[in-house]
Symmetry: D2
Subunit: 406 residues, 4 copies
């Protein structure tokens, strides 16, 4: 008898939870009967559904339930979460529950406990000693850790569509067309940023070197100086070309002012790295007068922390670059939990990395001229990201302007 | 003896005429010997080369010479152009010379005559009666027309690289990267536009509906009103959505102000067309108060001519749309010969059509967020076009701003 | 009292009709109460909903109802359709109903009548004399025609998701990722094609010149020869380069066999057109031995009709090209109503044109290496199209192979 | 007197060395006079030029000479290379010579010495003790290292165009159009691969996870099994999805066989990583029977080394992934020097990383459906790469087929 009753509640029709649930069951070859259904008649009412899910085999049923739990369906007869100890470092027990990036609760010792530091594709670990329920990446599991297995006693709450006109961050599906009016979108982002800052919230930027190549570095530098940005996450390239543009006036050998293209003028970025190596660090370079303007300069001057996560394509790299990818992830992970908004600008690698770490509640915007960056982010599960296909060289000046309009 | 001596002159090394000539001969399986070579030692000096081209067969030699003539190579022993009469309407004699879009001269009755209305992929027709040497598309040939065949007595002059820093319109190769500083490029275009207008020159715009979708219609309307644009070439879609945005405030059913997306709000453009049909024409609609602002409105009010060239994807179409493609081409062809600059914005079909018609001396800019539009334009031979990959929704506001900076 | 009761029925939750209805009302600033709701408890059961829609003004209510009718919502208190006579050729009465591409019925003289030749963005015209209810494009309206206005008595039936695993043509949303396994998709298309042909169905191809440029022309030619294709819709370019490749072995001057690129070898296509002009038509060229193989050759030899719809970017064009865009649309429209499947291959212009004309029941596949072609098709309302982002140069050989596998 | 005489020799016109030299001088605001010019009259002859380069300042002259040296221009009055000792680890002396990826020689102690392990954007270090002249990345410099500064005594030899039809790997400019015949290109690559293997050469693959997503993993696995591939360079994603597809039959939760898409089926790759963590390594997993087929399996079984270079977007990662980016680069660098051909398939990060490390003599092919990957590779200086824009899901099957044709 491969059947199980599940429950759904909330704006489950218009937020697509119910249709997606039915879709998923059918696509996975399962079947369902609606046992009870109570539709919210008015705007403020919520709907409730009870469904009997059936499948051909216990395995199939488990797979279906596993995926349903990510959509927000909870198993009806509520039991406590099931825990199994890890037998080896970095190894979760078979059947471990793999998290989504939505707010998640587990029923543990008769209490619905919030899973802290929620992040997609992790395990849920319960530390009984410290009375802590939290997300844990596979790589951080230690032998003996108590890991949630199965799908009993788990409740996921995906974001719901508000009843009323959709807001910018409710699109829920990355929308990558370039044929939409952009100015209004930018004004909405600017107003959201101002509101977050007025409430003491935190905004991060994840940026690629095209910010500098396109001549928009100065706008990002100003945003940092003016306190809009609380953390910068980037790679060696953004920092190097930013420094190159301060020292040599070029980016990848292209003159930032005149835009004149020099066929193989590729040595400036190497000379820039060499100068920072000589100073010992970006901070030292600011202090000893080597570096006098730009994005990194403003980070140092205004105590805005930065994480320069290394990659295998780095030249140099700069002494401040973190060459261990796990270490970089850890630092980005800490930031991710603490942010209210992230602007991901012109970097596929760092955007996807950040997208993997972000809880779905963080307002996220991905800006790139290449539609495939946005598509990939969404294909990899970061459905909450608002994608904008536009030119970085004009997006940042216009955002800056919108932030300074009365 | 499949050999022939050719001559080249000008800045043939740095303008790549000589390297391309050698390249082409080798790629086509021919061979060459340099007979004479006189290199320009100083900036102002020009270079001269005489080469003996050889091939395995007369046919191969002819094909090579045919292509060389487009690069600017002229056959040494100068003979008069050879003429053959067409035997049937729309049919050129075998071996007809197919034009490039560069300035071309033919040696006829002992004079080097300029070929008028030069345009790529046409024939050269000599009208002895009216003493006229001009380009003629295949479709316009009449039985009895005297058409140039072979490649004797033809001299092509491709644009040359100036000795000194390259100017915007000397790039000669469409450059489609989106990682270049854009603001400076826009300033150069603006300053070129102002210079052309100050000299009484003519500027055309070839535009697609994304101009309206992205909310930039008002900037184009202002440019028309302010006298920057002398002719508008577009299709049914640009005009329809421009009119829709005046009447309904939407474009393809999307609110231009708020950018709110309405899933299937596709009826507005039909209602807009219906209203213009009722008025009888766009001009009538302006006069009877149906249409009160926008791109088409400004064209009517300021007597800026427009060509709305129809296509098979048109809804409606508007009464002003020319549904015969040959007729549209003829009208565009007349404009093409008379322009100093063309801005091609966000339309692949109309840009390629215009690109086919433009002499290489017309300064041409193609702006699209999709790199493949620019690539296709260049693949089809419009090598003089400066390609810019950017967002239309920001390009036009920034261009407008640049045109109004002191 | 701007309120109206609407009804929905079918698999309205999993086919997204109900969620989209709620979404649309809220986005348009309206409100709703659920009056009755009867959910289909089992797979085979259908669901029914009755909702009270309210809005701030009668206009707003009308706009909402107008869009809802396209989703399949019908107004509860069933009245007959309302008709108004056109006062002028090409002009529909204000408030005309604009069609979707889904099966549509109108209540007329107490009967639910099917709207014939359904096509998006048209009017519904009732010809009382001939007892005919059919779709009519704006441009074909004659003064005196009885046109449906308002939204009473209209029932739209969008395709429903089958209960069970989704089939290829149920995706309903163009899916443009290039990171999906392609071979299986091709096998499904091949098997669908074989089934259609076994039932005497009709398959059309809408194709661009890249079919020839990529060396895949011979596969399309074989499909035509073998009876898989019932009609070819293309432009001057496909036919010209197909003919060029037969006569000269090149396409746009590139050798089809060796792929060697010749920088400016652009005269062959002009010479090809000239030869057909000499013969007088493609048919004549086949008969007089000018044309001996290829796509157009097989069309002539196998009596497969072709529509060569002209565009402003055509060189020549060939004598068989229809230079009037309205005439081209009419011919394509006739084909559209009569097809069971359409393959749209590597042509944005012709694909969007065809997409506009197709009823949603026709199985449609759009194949292009450029994701934006597929995105645009879908943005313009052809939601039923399955989009495949892949290389034409490999798609057609693989489809051919799949059609010949046992 | 900011003047200096330079010399060029070889097929300097048709290989574009001379035009590029003139271009660069003019674009950088310098000037030149041709002092001597001796053109190769016949195919086998080489040309020689002596030019006097002048500039406004010594600095400008130095910049120009620096860049000219990368094009193959050598300074006339031959002096020995100038060496300066590094004063600090990772810091090169000011004015250090930054390498290109072309074969480079330095005049040292009266001998023209080949610079070993040539790689772009490095310094040249002379180890007098061990009599070794080699490339050194900035990060590996030790205090006291003798580093080449200035541009005396350096000779660079860029690849030359052969006189005759251009070969595949002579394109020299990445060519990213998707409208070229592909089958022939694939046949050329296959024949090149067979020739390299017949001579005992080495072929590397740099691959992204799309190889597995598109269902082409089995073809790469077969190529490894059959001995065509000597080293695999990839990241965590390719290995994880390859292992996922062996264990679960899916890739990113999509069924490889049926192509059915599962909306949020993202847990399989985590479970796959967990299983390998349990085994301890990929090798162990093959030995203990956890892993039984696929790309990684064949690498283990056939002793083909693999480098899994970590990145910040990695889930897990697998125990075999190198999480230190500098260490990954070192391992890739060793391979780069030892290869005859590299296929870079569907990975921007790893392709650009590899492109940075490759000497220009290595035959390199970059295959991606996204044109921007190829464009970026070329923008960053890897001009020798042949770019192919096509679908991975069809490229690998077709390459496999071509390798097995008689």
């Amino acid at each position: 008898m491969n059947k199980r009753t599940i429950e759904l509640s909330g704006h489950i029709i218009d937020s697509l939870v119910l249709p997606k649930t039915m879709d998923l069951i059918m696509d996975r070859g399962g079947d369902f009967d609606i046992l009870e259904f109570d539709i919210g008649k008015r705007k403020s009412d919520i709907s409730r559904a009870k469904m009997l899910v059936s499948a051909d085999s216990p395995d199939q049923l488990n797979i279906i339930l596993d995926e349903l739990s990510r959509l927000g369906a909870s198993i009806s007869e509520i039991k406590e979460v099931e825990l199994t100890s890890s037998i080896k470092d970095k190894v979760a027990p078979e059947g471990f529950y793999s998290t989504s990036n939505h707010p998640t609760h587990v029923l543990y010792k008769n209490n619905w406990r919030t899973v802290e530091d929620i992040e997609m594709d992790c395990t849920i670990c319960i530390d009984e000693e410290n009375n802590k329920v939290s997300c844990k990446p596979l790589g951080e599991i230690k032998a003996g850790d108590k890991i949630v297995v199965g799908r009993e006693g788990i409740k996921v709450t995906p974001p719901q569509r508000t009843r009323g006109k959709k807001q910018l961050f409710e699109f829920m599906n990355s929308d990558v067309s370039s044929e939409k009016p952009l100015m209004n979108l930018i004004r909405e982002i600017a107003s959201e940023m101002k509101e977050i800052k007025s409430k003491g919230g935190r905004i991060g930027v994840v940026g690629g070197p095209a910010i500098v190549h396109t001549g928009s570095g100065k706008y990002l530098a100003s945003l940092i100086k003016e306190g809009f940005i609380d953390v910068l996450m980037a790679g060696n390239a953004l920092a190097t070309h930013d420094i190159e543009s301060d020292i040599f006036g070029t980016s990848l050998g292209i003159d930032i002012q005149t835009g004149n293209i020099v066929s193989h003028g590729h040595t400036h970025h190497m000379r820039a790295i060499n100068k920072i190596n000589k100073s010992g660090s970006i901070k030292n370079a600011v202090e000893d007068g080597t570096l006098n303007s730009g994005i990194m300069y403003e980070c140092i001057k205004n105590n805005v922390p930065f994480i320069l996560a290394g990659s295998i394509r780095d030249d140099g790299p700069l002494p401040d670059v973190i060459t261990n990818t796990i270490k970089s992830q850890e630092l980005m992970r800490q930031q991710a939990q603490d942010l209210d908004m992230v602007l991901m600008i012109a970097t596929m690698l760092h955007s996807i990395a950040m997208g993997n770490l972000l809880p779905s509640r963080v307002k996220s915007i991905c800006v790139d001229i290449n539609p495939s960056t946005v598509t990939k982010l969404s294909d990899r599960g970061s459905a909450q990201v608002v994608g904008i296909v536009t030119d970085i060289g004009t997006f940042l000046p216009l955002l800056y302007e919108a932030l300074h309009m009365k």
